[in-house]
Amino acid sequence: MMKIINMVVNGKPAELAVEEGESLTDTLRNRLGLTSVKKGCEVGECGACTVLIDGVAKNSCIYLSVWADGHSILTVEGLRTEDCELHPIQKAFVEEAAIQCGFCTPGLVLTGVELVNSGKKFNREELREQISGHLCRCTGYENILNALERVVGKNS
């Protein structure tokens, strides 16, 4: 059965009808065209579908869209500022070449944004733990950690 839900997606209110069995990944990709949200393992292991729900990183593949009713969702599309500047995390990913195929990047960027928003600083070991819910099959973890260290590292 379809249900009407109201979310705030990337800062804008969105009212839409979704199937009760629909994952938030599918709603964001297919109904709202937000294809930065990737479909990977679809069982909450790879982190490619990570979005921020009320500012907290969650796997959208195992989160029903009906649960998002009344909540606020952020995807990478919502990071762009009015003057088209990249987020500091995105800039650091570019500077450190922390991108190979790019499939894990949107999820990792959003985890990075969550870390920035926490106001905390992290050492490399802590950062490893923080990104442990993201699989990069190009195995480019060192550059990803370098990028995160630039913005939220203890010495940044």
Partner: protein, 295 residues
Amino acid sequence: MYDIIHTFKASSVNDVLELLSSNSDAMLVAGGTDVMIRMRERKLRQASLISLLDIPDLKTISLREDGAIVIGAGACFTEISENTIVLEKIPMLAHACRQVGSPQIRNIATIGGNICNGAVSADSVPSLYALDAELELWGKDGSRLVPIRKFHTGPGQTVLQKDRELLTAIIIPLSSYAHHGGCYIKFGQRNAMEISTLGCAVNVSLTGDKKHIEKAAIAFGVAAPVPMRCAKVESLLIGAEINEEMFFTVRENILEGLKPRDSWRASLELRRQLIREMSVRALKQAIINAGGSLQ
């Protein structure tokens, strides 16, 4: 698309009980990190789900007047592992909660779901066994308290009446953590996103001179079909002097009452060795955390 017929969103405990009574085949879902996987694997079909995500009352963590720590069943692992009461009074549980899945999983998966799902590998459960936690279950006629040690009856099986009851809180009495030291060790092939091969939690109190064990609780996950306490070793440890002989006794007797299995994840031989080794390591660390020394 998940094979779901109906979804309901409960806003209070009473709401949950109402929804359960009018939808007898409905299933409760909190973070969904177990339920949704079962649905994806088609082990669960044509489901009706009652979501517990939007019940703020289930998320609170508080210190009761009698010193008991009350953890709402809907608190997620990130909330528990960062909570100041938990970090200060029962750091073992904070550490155990940080071993679950990944940050994204811990941001939504709840301690109540971990307990009620009944998996023997549940990371938070051995510590709760070692802390003699009590579970508050609510039904139409009120609440009942069940010691967690009596909650699990088999793999995935619990005493919770799923069609009419809800786990609302986990209660850890003052006597379980005051002047105690604890340690939880998880063994897995990798650190993150790993189902525990074996988990061992130890909670000890020492005598005034810190040279003897006053009382010790040792609990295992994945060492039997349900989480288990090691009654025999616990009784041997009462009043025991902390020395190498004591650790030898633990190593020699710890397997009594446990039933480790042989599986693709780990052989029986490895599991037995892990049980012996982890019990001693966790006990040593717990003694240090309780203010004792190993000489």
